[in-house]
Amino acid sequence: MMDAIASELIETSKGKRQIVPSLWPDESFRDFGLRGNLEEFDDIRFEEEETFGGQLKSGVKFVETVADVMDRRMATDPRIVVMGEDIHRLKGGTNGATRGLARKYPDRCLGTPICENAFTGLAGGMAADGRIRPVIEFMYPDFMWVAADQIFNQIGKARHMFGGENAMPLVLRTKVAMGTGYGSQHSMDPAGIFATAPGSRIVAPSTPFDYVGLINSALLCNDPVLVLEHVDLYNSTGSALQKTLIFTFRLVRPKSCEPAAA
């Protein structure tokens, strides 16, 4: 049987054995599937704070929005699972970003051992399954290097590597902590590394309103999304929605923001 099969794939041309030329993939296929085509956003509502017509309340703390929006999403979407070190304790992890989630969703708020490589890969496996949308928190982006193989060789490359059709809907939240005095190994901004490695999308919300839109997009997206939260913004305030509303931000349009007053 193997001889017969091989003879259907290989021919002799000018006395040499070669693959039947028409069986090769098309050259245009080369970069197909590096990331998905965002078709999951086709019928979705987009909003921007400047043009939002609904009710907003002001003075909302950024870090509270982080936990708040995750709570609202987990309440209605049983697929969402958050995981990371100490996110299930300390009133929402080391910054309060997951406050209240462990009490409400104990089987979907997972405090991990210290093993970034394993728990990141675990999240990758959950995402690849299709029935779970994992949200990993890296306590500091510097720790991503511990999980580098899983982030860059596995999660980032999985779609393209296996032919382009398999989704990897994973969200990776981390805080940029430069300026907190923790030294070289706790001060990284990982955007550049992610921007030059295949497969991921990056968002960096700067207001509570933007955070809601971008995290909703990240949770909807079938590609891995890095969500950067700057610690300096955690205690900042802004506007947020009065009522629950799922809206998203376009992931491909950068928005320039004014530098904050000193």
Partner: protein, 309 residues
């Protein structure tokens, strides 16, 4: 004089062998299916090596000839909904799982291969050759074989890289109560890398239904197990993490089947992960069609003795 108390590990660690009674009790369909798979898989591998020697395989050809027993014995014990992943040397594991999926009532060696089996073999060979009709449209090649319908999650070219991912799949099964299990196949080379050991720990802590299947063929390319680790009985790692572990002769597919069956009962009951260490022999060098002895790291006699055993 200090006092000593010998401490006992949490989980059992056992060697498992198939007795004469086990051979007699084996369902004939299982026996004949295993036999057929153990002929088809090396035939497939030999075809790959033949094509590689002719320069027709653009990429590696990590042959699993000699290691079929571990793949077939474990695949036969699984259900269609169970899942597996493997490493760069995984054609045999991919095929064994896929064959069990396309022929769920077993394969009769007295009949010609079915159209489904032929199609499976062709699509797998096509993927290895990088052709558009392959499972990953030719993009994956030999080391990235994926067929999710059959439970093949996707093989991995980073040593130990697929192990955490398999644990993630197992987490979903546990969370959704599917009763399914995941086998992650890797070798004696991978057993010393961080990702594997980290995953063993978290899998045990979270009671994930995953079997860490260690294919011990004695060599990581040319480096021996004895050079690489102090405790060369690799299933011993289970003792450190509280994982129920088995050591088995991987050249005896019946013994592997029995180990897998017991591991599956443990995992499906929610008791957490298992380890199966299967001793096998890789007849060829790491990559390609030459024997290992051609590269000087082992003798021709060793290869011959293993072939006769």
């Amino acid at each position: 004089m200090p006092e000593y108390k010998h401490l006992k590990p949490l989980a059992p660690w056992r060697e498992i062998k198939a007795s004469r009674d086990d051979w007699a009790a084996l369902k004939p369909e299982l026996g004949t299916t295993m036999l057929t798979q153990m002929h088809l898989i090396p035939a497939f591998e030999e075809k790959v090596l033949e094509l590689a020697a002719q320069g027709l395989v653009h990429g590696p050809a990590h042959s699993a000839i000699g290691q079929e027993g571990g793949a077939v014995g474990s695949a036969i014990a699984m259900r269609p909904g169970d899942q597996v992943n493997g490493s760069h040397r995984a054609h045999h594991q991919f095929l064994a799982k896929a064959l069990c999926f396309v022929e769920q009532d077993g394969i009769d060696p007295n009949q010609p291969f079915s159209g489904e089996v032929r199609h499976l073999a062709k699509r797998t060979l096509a993927e290895i050759l990088g052709l558009a009709q392959g499972f990953c449209k030719g993009r994956g090649g030999s080391m990235h074989l994926r067929w999710p319908e059959a439970g093949n999650l996707g093989t991995n070219a980073i040593v130990g890289g697929g192990v955490p991912i398999a644990a993630g799949a197992a987490w979903v099964h546990r969370h959704l109560n599917t009763g399914n299990v995941v086998y992650t196949y890797f070798g004696d080379g991978a057993v010393n890398i961080g990702s594997v050991l980290e995953t063993m720990n978290i899998a045990a802590a979270w009671k994930l239904p995953i079997c860490f299947f260690i294919e011990n063929n004695g060599y990581a390319v040319s480096t021996t197990v004895a050079e690489s680790t102090a405790e060369i009985r690799l299933s011993s790692r289970g003792l450190a993490f509280g994982i129920s572990s088995f050591k088995v002769d991987g050249m005896d597919p019946i013994a592997v089947y029995l180990a897998s069956d017991e591991a599956n009962a443990h995992m499906r009951a929610g008791h957490g992960p298992t380890i199966i260490e299967a001793d096998v022999y890789r007849f060829y060098h790491q990559n390609g069609a030459l024997p290992g002895s051609a590269f000087g790291y082992r003798t021709k006699q060793e290869g011959g003795a293993m072939a006769r055993a």
